[in-house]
Symmetry: C3
Subunit: 369 residues, 3 copies
């Protein structure tokens, strides 16, 4: 069988599949020149991944993928799994059930970048052990995690859980979810820093940024909702990130969220959905079979508030649009535009103004296997 | 054919097989708090490897594997081979025949970490060219080596040889071996440093440590013995590491060794052995075929003496136990405990005491293919 | 099918192939000791690559390869492609059509290292988008490029084009080509540095070196000619690299080129050629099929002039010879010698002499798949 790359299967439950992805971004950002920040043309290999996955007789399996973008190596999924009926146990590095937008593969997202809060609050894969229960319309996930595989010298230890209901209403797929997160930093010198780029990743400027905050622990709460109905989809999330700070320091709660809608201009196409996440779009009429592939337009309002309890990290209101062309299941091109409006931006423009906008445009070429 | 991953074979002698392994460790170490050393909870991805191996018509072959643990990339085996009857020639990075415990794959070892002397004396794969002769009960290996693939800017050049006899006595497999090693550092500024962690790798503390010693060359001698008889195995090694130091400096000889026994609690199981190394345990009754897999208990006494000729690197006497569960051939879980008793530890406890113990506990989850 | 590794093919146009190479070099260099430069024994893993390539129904494809030599990770080819008849479009990191010697795979080159100008002028793969047209004897290539995948934070943007005619004259394959290159550095702080090692790569000394030159843009022109006639081949190239410098600074033009001839001592063997590049040598009588493989001797005169417009980077005249043994299609061993004669070398020998020679000898073992 082929899933981008060959899925090699053997007797007794053996399987093996290589996997990988390449994403190239090019575009520009435009900030008020009086802020003195770098902007203009930019480009990068956003993701360059290579990995494998497989099954081992007895219910075991593994997934191990590496990202080589940026001249560094970072393990993404790197775990051993065991499945028995509705239960799956995972040990190793994987996502700690943070949010619908974070858990949806970057291959299948509706914009070039995820919602601002996902990066801002430091969502990343972590080393841990988790259990997932999936039966009918219920998905329940819980796990204990330490830190990213590159940071296991930290003493971080946390617990995460997520509950999703995914009923069908007629032909429409609904998604309702919530998650809770706790992370004990267990280090007197520990700090957190929440910040975010203006939409595109090839700039390294951040106009909202809490700076380093001494921190004892983080507690997060997320709410998720989505619907897919034929060519239409909508999704919205909210996430509250609470920081417990040592001694008499205030304990701020920051917030981020978004609401988006999308529509396929090509007939017969729909967003994929599987196991509590958006899944691959498979064009009904792909290039090579007489068609043109799928074309989808998406609009998103994205909000991030890093002001609370005496901390002024800034507020970002972003208005984003994307146009996605998938000529075939495993190839994608997209155009993305975002206007990010700031209050209390961390860089002042002329006259000390911290309320201004930053525009960003990004185009992506993507292949995976 | 399947060997964890598919072994793809073609006409005329072609073959290709992906390979990899993931090992996650979690546990803690406990040192006297008066030493001021970091201890407590720890975890890490101990090994995260991906690679390939293959055969090329005409007797040629290759193996190329990379380890991505710790956010870095290190080549492990990376070589071209040629085989003709009992002779195998290898060019590239491979092990320089250091010891039974070092040469046995980390996948098939009896404890979470190898004997203390193997890390302490800096055993690692090196770039070189070697010849192996294997016929009947005789295995003879010799090669010329420079340094690890990441350190080829050094001027190191050495020679290594190992001789193993591996007779059967009834059903019992015997292993008797010896090796000699010479490494010319060829650099007036060269130094060596021998040190070791207290059993578990996720701590970075070392309580025995010679510090940097100016060195001209290293000479090593190893003795190996082992027996496998049904569910039982025993193994013992000793290794003498001699440092030739420049000018009038003394030339110390350090020593390390261990003795271990192991026993399978599950019937029908036995430790694998192949070509002068312990090999894969294949449970007689694996999970998925109505069984529980194999369960093995192991005990080890491990000794490392870094005191000699005026150098006081410390002495470590370690008492270690492990419990290994293999539900199936390519999955392993283990629990490991070690009490490390020090004399002349390099960190003093209360009252200047350098004789104390450090406890360590480590659990591992492992998959390979 | 097998091409070193298995080429796995599926219905509808799917394909997947792993790929990789290992090259180990050992040898020495010898410079006048009065220059005070490091020389003598050296060795390294010159290339250690692993990657994949594949086809996707609809005309799409990808290639993604990583080099792990030197303890770092560098992406080499990493792109998405689309082909339709004589047209191929590539997006991602690939070679920007620099020269015959640069574009010919290091697997199939006639010497251990390419012509001096290719490294000196900083030829490397870059991120970009290009179109290649190939029909009959015509190959035309043009693209827009930024910078290497590890340097996309630079503002570099350039355009490159190459035209090749590749007619047959009787049984002889001719190659005639030319290329033009422009790269706008778009950064007031940008500089270029052109320099080159004495033939072998395991030394880090460079006896010709312009040092850092403030630069606004680079413009390059290359001419290529080659012929393959049975066991014989000849090739010659010239390349002019012009630097536009900011303000009143002079604009130097540097030059490099080479002429080489080669001959197979074994009957029936010939250099491969495909799509405007030299291609794999496939021994007529390989080891394993009763033969000895192919043996080829090559001679090269190589010239690099880094003196112009007041800049004295030095001149290198190199006389090089190689002996290449390929026991089979995917295995290669070679011996290489080069005498590099310098004028205006950047390191003075005794008495301030900057005209002297550096000898270099390098042996290589290579396998690919």
């Amino acid at each position: 069988a082929w899933k981008g790359a060959p899925l090699i299967e053997g007797e007794g439950g053996w399987s093996f599949k290589p996997r990988g992805r390449l994403m190239y971004d090019v575009g520009f950002s435009s900030a008020p020149s009086s802020t003195g920040r770098a902007d203009g043309f930019g480009n990068e290999a956003r993701r360059a991944r290579l990995g494998v996955e497989g099954d081992i007789p007895g219910g075991f399996g593994y997934k191990f993928e590496l990202d080589f973008a940026g001249g560094e190596v970072d393990a993404t999924d790197a775990y051993l799994s065991y499945g028995d009926g509705p239960i799956e146990v995972i040990v190793g590095q994987h996502n700690n059930f943070q949010s619908l937008d974070e858990l949806t593969s970057s291959l299948h997202s509706s914009f070039i970048e995820r919602a601002a809060f996902t990066d801002a609050f430091g969502f990343e894969r972590r080393v841990g052990a988790s259990v997932t229960y999936k039966q009918g319309i219920v998905l329940a996930q819980a796990g204990l995690f330490t830190d990213n595989i590159n940071d296991t010298s930290s003493k971080n230890r946390g617990a995460d859980a997520r509950l999703v209901l995914m009923p069908k209403m007629g032909d429409a797929q609904l998604h309702l979810g919530g998650s809770v997160h706790y992370n004990d930093l267990d280090d007197p010198a520990a700090s957190v820093r929440y910040r975010q780029r203006p939409f595109v990743h090839f700039t390294s400027e951040r106009f909202v940024n809490t700076g380093n905050l001494a921190a004892a622990s983080e507690t997060g709460y997320g709410l998720e909702g989505a619907v897919i109905a034929g060519p239409f989809h909508a999704a919205a999330e909210g996430f509250w990130q609470q920081v417990s700070r040592p001694g008499a320091l205030s304990d701020p709660t920051f917030f981020g969220g978004y609401a988006e809608v999308g529509y396929f201009l090509t007939s017969g196409d729909s967003r994929g959905y599987k196991s509590g996440k958006f899944d691959r779009v498979k064009p009904a009429n792909p290039v090579g079979k007489g068609g043109f592939g799928s074309v989808q337009v998406n609009l998103r309002y994205d909000y991030l508030d890093l002001n609370d309890a005496g901390i002024t990290g800034g507020i970002q209101n972003a208005y984003q649009a994307s146009l996605i062309w998938k000529p075939t299941d495993y190839v994608l091109f997209s155009l993305n535009y975002g206007k990010q409006a700031y209050d209390d931006a961390v860089y002042a423009a002329a006259g000390g103004d911290t309320s201004y906008s930053v525009d960003a445009f990004g185009a992506r070429a993507q292949v995976d296997f």
